[in-house]
């Protein structure tokens, strides 16, 4: 059976498509907090702006927001892909555990704070990195992934100074020798 395509002609509020498992949702407007919260599979496209916590605890599937999203976008992601065409607010990617977040615009303070795993790509400026979030080298595979994710939306992935952010892994295990790192995170 073909998964259903749900189309909203207008803005939606909090938690649109939350906990969905399969199917496709298109929002022709903006959305409130936590669009696609805990999405298991399927896709959500928002042709507008998103609120805070877009794609929170994403487990699978794909959330695309064409505009800008608020604070803590992609918080505690456990899989899936979150693509933001604009910028994201502070502490986005906080405690990310798996998955991929692509930010085509700027990232506000504390991006990737305390992330365990997963990858965050930022095309614009990074105001500041969160605790234990470090920049890694971009590879050809990374660029191929960005092209695959962004081309369908008509967003150029080339000619962009992409920053790849990953976990520094210093917070994986407590070490009294890195007390300052823990104190900074907590």
């Amino acid at each position: 059976m073909t998964p259903i395509h749900v189309i909203f002609d207008g803005p939606v509020g909090w938690y649109c498509g939350g906990m969905s498992d399969g199917g496709r949702i298109t929002v022709n407007g903006s959305c409130g907090w936590s669009v696609g919260e805990n999405l298991m599979s399927g896709s959500i496209e928002v042709h507008g702006n998103g609120g805070s916590s877009a794609g929170a605890t994403l487990r699978g599937g794909r959330v695309f927001v064409a505009g800008t999203t608020g604070a803590r976008s992609g918080i505690s992601m456990k899989g899936g892909t979150l693509v933001v065409g604009g910028s994201v607010g502070y502490m986005s990617g906080f405690m990310m555990q798996r998955g991929t977040m692509i930010v085509c615009g700027d990232a506000a303070d504390g991006i990737g704070d305390s992330m365990y795993e997963g990858t965050v790509y930022v095309g614009g400026s990074v105001h500041s990195l969160g605790a234990d979030c470090v920049e890694a080298d971009m590879t050809d595979d990374d660029r191929a992934l960005l092209a695959t994710e962004l081309d369908p939306h008509g967003i150029a992935s080339t000619g962009v100074d992409w920053k790849k952010l990953v976990a520094g892994k210093k917070l994986w295990n407590f070490s009294k020798h890195e007390y300052d790192a823990w104190r900074g995170a907590l």
Binding site: M1, T2, P3, I4, H5, V6, I7, F8, D9, G10, P11, V12, G13, W14, Y15, C16, G17, G18, M19, S20, D21, G23, I25, G29, G32
Partner: protein, 47 residues
């Protein structure tokens, strides 16, 4: 046989009714459902 497209005017229904209609359409094999006037209502398309 399921119709190709179903349309719901959200202004005439509660959120619960809308979500139940989406679930029913998915179960019936309706490929596309269009919802008008969502009016920024919370928790839409939540199973």
């Amino acid at each position: 046989m399921a119709t190709l497209t179903s349309e719901i005017d959200c202004s005439a229904h509660t959120t619960r009714e809308i979500n139940q209609a989406i679930k029913r359409a998915a179960a019936d094999g309706v490929p596309e459902i269009r919802l008008t006037n969502p009016a920024a209502r919370h928790c839409l398309a939540v199973p």
